[in-house]
Amino acid sequence: MAAESGKIDPMHQFEVTPLGGGFNLGGHEVLFTNSALWMVIAAVVLGLFMWGGMRRQLVPGRWQAAVEGFTGFISNMMMANIGTEGRKYTPYVFSLFMFILFCNLLGMLPLGVLGLHPFTVTSHIAITGVLALLSFSIVLVVGFWRHGLHFFSLFVPHGTPLPMIPFIAVIEFISFMIRPFSLGLRLFVAMTAGHVLLKVLSGFVINGFNAENAVIGSVVSLLSFTLMIGISALELLVAGIQAYVFALLTSLYINDAVNLH
């Protein structure tokens, strides 16, 4: 949102700025940043949302029904993809899904109108990559814990003809190792692209109204603004879908580790 000499930098919104509170952790300086602030906000909002659904009534109210809708959504997904053993991993996948969803949605809030700077935590590869690595590590730990070295048979699908095994195994191994990158990149790219697009369009709106030719400028502004409304709706959808995709793929990967084909 920084307007330096009339130019609007669409990437400025992704900058992590320290807000203070630095301390040293094993030789690395750890600062409380705007990114950390929005993580905390997401956690608090998520906590409040969940707390509202904890009345545990037999006939749920609206809020409780909403919370139970989310928990039921993830439980059913785990049940469908993994089976009864999936229940063990529901807390992790649910936390993952809700954290990503709330970070995505909070980053979409039009708080810039109030002069605040919303920050999308999930638009950083450092965050999504770590979450993806976390899911990948769980898959590895669970896989080797349950199946030992037999877990390597994951790279040889059932019914592979014998001469094909070396090639298939290599391909399967590469696709397996790529999982954390694709998982983290997908979310990071979707969030970044959406926010850049919105910011570019909002730059058009502002620059249009400031243009020398008021008529053409206004037309550009109005068209861009209309487009922004539509794309904002689309971005809300993407925020939900990307959180869902992350959780779904995590559950599918865990299924590989638990059930091994």
């Binding site: 950390a36 992790y92 809700m98």
Partner: protein
């Protein structure tokens, strides 16, 4: 792109992001994932179980009602059949009684008729005998009066008997 530029440019960037992500996510996992989620799932499970139980109870009650209805109907059928049987038994008995009484009366009447007939025939035969003797006497008298011949009573009797009995 600050997301990548800051990775190398700011030495605090990665440590801060990782630290706060792990703190916040661990907090969410422990408090929400492990603390709140199982309670909410337990509530949902309890509700599902209650609904299933209630449905099962309703089904059982329905079956019981059906059974009761069936037994009621069977009872009704049975009592109706019993009533019909009682009625037909009574009818049979009444008919048999009437028959017996009728037969008795019939037999009595037959007896009386037979006795009366016997009486009549006895009276007739005695009357016949009397007629025979009177006729024989009269015949004897007639013969004596007409011809003056005295006939023995036995001869007159035989002659009369021959005439009477053809």
């Amino acid at each position: 792109m600050p997301q990548i530029a800051q990775l190398t440019a700011d030495n605090w960037y990665l440590a801060s992001q990782l630290f706060w992500l792990l703190v916040v996510f661990a907090g969410i996992y422990v408090v929400i994932g492990r603390g709140m989620l199982p309670k909410i799932e337990a509530t949902v499970d309890a509700r599902d179980r209650k609904v299933a139980d209630d449905l099962a109870a309703a089904k059982a009650a329905h079956a019981a009602a059906d059974k009761l209805d069936e037994s009621y109907r069977q009872q009704g059928d049975a009592s109706r059949a019993a009533a019909q049987k009682a009625v037909s038994d009574a009818k049979d008995k009444a008919a048999k009684d009437a028959e017996k009484r009728l037969a008795k009366v019939d037999a009595e009447l037959g007896e009386r008729l037979a006795a009366a007939e016997a009486d009549v025939s006895a009276a007739r035969s005695s009357a016949m005998a009397e007629i025979e003797s009177v006729a024989a006497e009269a015949a004897g008298d007639l013969v004596a009066k007409l011809s003056g011949v005295k006939i023995a009573a036995a001869d007159a009797k035989a002659a009369v008997k021959a005439v009477l009995h053809g």
